[in-house]
Chain length 339, copies 4
Amino acid sequence: MTSPLRIGIVGLGRLGQRHAQALAFSTRNCVLTAACSPVETERTYASTELGIQRVYARFEDLLASPDVDAVVLVTPTSLHADQAIAALQAGKHVFVEKPLALNLPDCERVLAEADKHPDLIAMVGFVRRFDPSYRAAQASIAAGEIGRPFIVRSQTCDQNDPDGFFVRFAPTSGGIFMDCSVHDIDLARWMLGRPKALKAYATGTVALHPGLSEFGDVDNGLAIVDFEGGAKAVFYASRTMAHGHETSTEVIGTAGKLLVGEHAARDRVVTSDAHGVRHAVLKDFYERFEAAFAAEMGEFVAACRGERQLTLTLSDAMEATRIGLAITRSLHSGMPEAV
Amino acid sequence: MTSPLRIGIVGLGRLGQRHAQALAFSTRNCVLTAACSPVETERTYASTELGIQRVYARFEDLLASPDVDAVVLVTPTSLHADQAIAALQAGKHVFVEKPLALNLPDCERVLAEADKHPDLIAMVGFVRRFDPSYRAAQASIAAGEIGRPFIVRSQTCDQNDPDGFFVRFAPTSGGIFMDCSVHDIDLARWMLGRPKALKAYATGTVALHPGLSEFGDVDNGLAIVDFEGGAKAVFYASRTMAHGHETSTEVIGTAGKLLVGEHAARDRVVTSDAHGVRHAVLKDFYERFEAAFAAEMGEFVAACRGERQLTLTLSDAMEATRIGLAITRSLHSGMPEAV
Amino acid sequence: MTSPLRIGIVGLGRLGQRHAQALAFSTRNCVLTAACSPVETERTYASTELGIQRVYARFEDLLASPDVDAVVLVTPTSLHADQAIAALQAGKHVFVEKPLALNLPDCERVLAEADKHPDLIAMVGFVRRFDPSYRAAQASIAAGEIGRPFIVRSQTCDQNDPDGFFVRFAPTSGGIFMDCSVHDIDLARWMLGRPKALKAYATGTVALHPGLSEFGDVDNGLAIVDFEGGAKAVFYASRTMAHGHETSTEVIGTAGKLLVGEHAARDRVVTSDAHGVRHAVLKDFYERFEAAFAAEMGEFVAACRGERQLTLTLSDAMEATRIGLAITRSLHSGMPEAV
Amino acid sequence: MTSPLRIGIVGLGRLGQRHAQALAFSTRNCVLTAACSPVETERTYASTELGIQRVYARFEDLLASPDVDAVVLVTPTSLHADQAIAALQAGKHVFVEKPLALNLPDCERVLAEADKHPDLIAMVGFVRRFDPSYRAAQASIAAGEIGRPFIVRSQTCDQNDPDGFFVRFAPTSGGIFMDCSVHDIDLARWMLGRPKALKAYATGTVALHPGLSEFGDVDNGLAIVDFEGGAKAVFYASRTMAHGHETSTEVIGTAGKLLVGEHAARDRVVTSDAHGVRHAVLKDFYERFEAAFAAEMGEFVAACRGERQLTLTLSDAMEATRIGLAITRSLHSGMPEAV
């Protein structure tokens, strides 16, 4: 397969634009031929800024477009399953932003459809798997450098947004664990070698955003998951960090430990002044994972072109949803929940 | 009060010797006049190395000694309560190593006796409260510098001892949480302003020392505690670190966070060579808290001499035991336990 | 100007290939239309890997190519001046790898020619100016955040190559200061606000590569430069680092200091194991400045298209050469040399 | 020798009080029996705070005191040589604060006198040699862990004192290199294995304290020293740091490098807040070397009691003065100076 992969992007919100730019300007072997959004300004963006010729308001029209080999879905989570299934049925490779779905039946439907199309790539956007640091850490673990890994501590902590934008998003986000920790859950499984999760316990608190309470959500959550074979994971998710965005993951093994991302330095500058010795901090996950978003698209294209085998499967995405749901149930029940 | 405080030390094991050396050679305004140990080599050590004149095999004899104003108990935990009570009844100030006791009735008996002697100092050795870094952190929080603190993450992680000495100690240690995490529990309460603990959940695993299983103990434990008002604490205790001893504590507030002790650098040397850029790590808690042990003795002496008010109370010690017991119950039941 | 800039690359050695890949795959608004190399394997690379249609063995042929708006010169330093002049005379924008030239008359000839073509961009590849961390540092200084900057300490330290490839390169490199420190010299001028250099002193040693001695070169060099107004710079260049490539720069001001690049962490992973707490180190300047090389090409294209004003001038490049030459004279004379 | 060493301290200014407290309260096997100061408040301090019985206004009286085995001189540098000689002639061990003297003849007189008293200890206070981190670094080098060391970069940088106290001290300090860098010079020789210094070059600037100019002194100085065998040292001394006191030393060898003291963290606390991720910085050299000052006194006492062999000799102190003088001459001449 030597001609470039022709891609249609669906959804051009903030993250959608990031993916689109990566595809348009810095991913090899692909062309961004089509875009779809119900929002007019987003369609204008696609034409003007990205120079895309075929721009649609409706997903069906993009699917019917003659020159689309693959679709990239950056749409609301509630649409993921149906859109992914439709794309597969239309014979397209499909990339879905995380999480795959907020319930297991939806995940199962997607997996069942994908099983019918072994020739098509279906991938979920767990972007951290494409970050150079997480990759180095996982490779080190796989090479046995920290012995047998048995504890993961992982966090997704966003800088506080005083406007609390995410509060309005709370009714549909699935809660803090489904929205933020699902990445950490996927990482924990990846780093630990995909053990089966048995049991989850969670607790949380509202530190700064009381508006979350009516949706049963919190702005700071803690969870522990027990895996078969004795491994454990602790997750921390926060929407209220004062200093910036800090995504970090520690994997503890019998011969050493690895820590990825601590302190979230924005760059290689250290300042020494009246405030002490300090460095600036990343503002958000876009800034943290900019290179990983580009690498992720590169991997998707390479997989569609048959040049690369993906290790991240739909089944991984379903397991992350399964564990996230058990954690969320525990947050509400106050009791450990079976996964 | 101007004459030096006369101190008798009880127990001259490894930690007892540390305390004794601090009292003998680098604590102001005190004299180490007496020592007591059932072990002959320890008594010899007291005479020869420390130059103590009055050395006893029996605790009662030390209490009866004419020139002892205060006793420092570095004895097995099971003896703490009775010895502390006897010391108070004999009119002595008393310092007890942590934990105060492994059950609440013993704690209550000591508190009741101490109440009868308002003129005597009774102090429990939560040494981290005397470490300069923990002190700076707590002062910063008390000054409001991180806003309202609401989450504490704290760990006590020992370097793995391949001989597993602590396995033999397992039957009497009270388990990993009572032995190690009791410090973290005390710190969490101190940093958070002493909120009432409501609920505890724990889990654990045996990574390297299967001998612990028969005592219901683990070599790696994780716990979450919910406090009244919404604050949370997560504790991690490990006996199996490959790199060294790492005691660290993070306090997260609404306006910032503080992290004490990460990476446990042994000193100020950074080496760049074929292994990367690296620093050596502390070997054990003696090395980490050497200065704090000395400061702790200094505070005890100052308090006995009426020069300083202690903020660390017997009631703090009892609460730490109470929380540690609830965590330990949860480890065994697999369910959250009321504190 | 809306059509993409058409670029011809000259020289496809290791660094040339880097530039070519950046231009071919991740620079906006340009097309790599032509390539030139006297080496057949490099020409094959251009056709096969980069898909370039017009591939030449001779520079003149590339210049005569109909669809080249700009040339990128990644050729031996001795060719820079003549090729840059020829490109300008042919009406092409020109990018020259650093250093501009190893003598001042050559620099002056290029500047004189460029003066005749005010509509053409002529840029020298001081890549560090396009690194995000150096940019943040310079912006911070320009905003007055460290007060008045008055001392720069800057180093370029390569990992030791046991094969000593650079020894064979010694006769034509201009010596360690012209080859490595010229970047640091440019940075120092940039950070200090382009003061006039007055005096230079240098010393050096051969630590591991005695073969350098016959060329009057060293594998570790130290230099101090005095600037008008009292500012100073200290440079360190090394070919013999054991741990990796470490490019770092410190700028000291009256109200604070900035340090860029210390310890050269390869990524965001910290490992704690029997070797201590450590991180991996960058292997070479390609790895360190990968993103900066891409940004540099982006800036060149944007400048050629009239979208951006370059702050880096040919005059800056000539001053860097002038200071580098004075330092090199001092290395040989053992005495301070006027710049 | 089993009775405690009886010490008389001479000079009770700020540093003198530090030494006196270390001797009085935390040094084993010694008693501070006498003190001497021409300043009445200092003598009162000695009696009241330190409980010293024999307090003298005149040095001769202290020397004549019956119960003094050793004297600790913390007096103005101009008095060091004569007082040290007098002490030796009186049969006392002697500790002299650094530098030994500001000229070589004075150094030579002390060495000559010391040679006549092989049974007496004479030691100069290069306190950094007793700091745990510097000791670990030197031990690592001596064990060959970084191969052959060949470059030292060392700095003594004080936090700016807006009042410029040290300006008044300028006429007698010997200049910034004799006052501050003499420590770095001694460290460089120690780390490099005491090579013979050949040549020194220095430059400096007045960044904030113009009052220094009339004494030919600067508030920021840079120097390079060439040693026999090819090793080099670069020194930086500053009185104008904005962030605090930062004493650091890097030793570069053929198989690795060591860096002691970078960033000068005050303690183990890291704060993450609106100012970034940061740590507090040491205020001054007292705070940095508090433990080292105590260890230094311990070593002096142990040496006087014949329990320890000193590796730091009077000859080391004379060499440090010799190199410091050459650097200072170069600062004034603008030319390299023979050492």
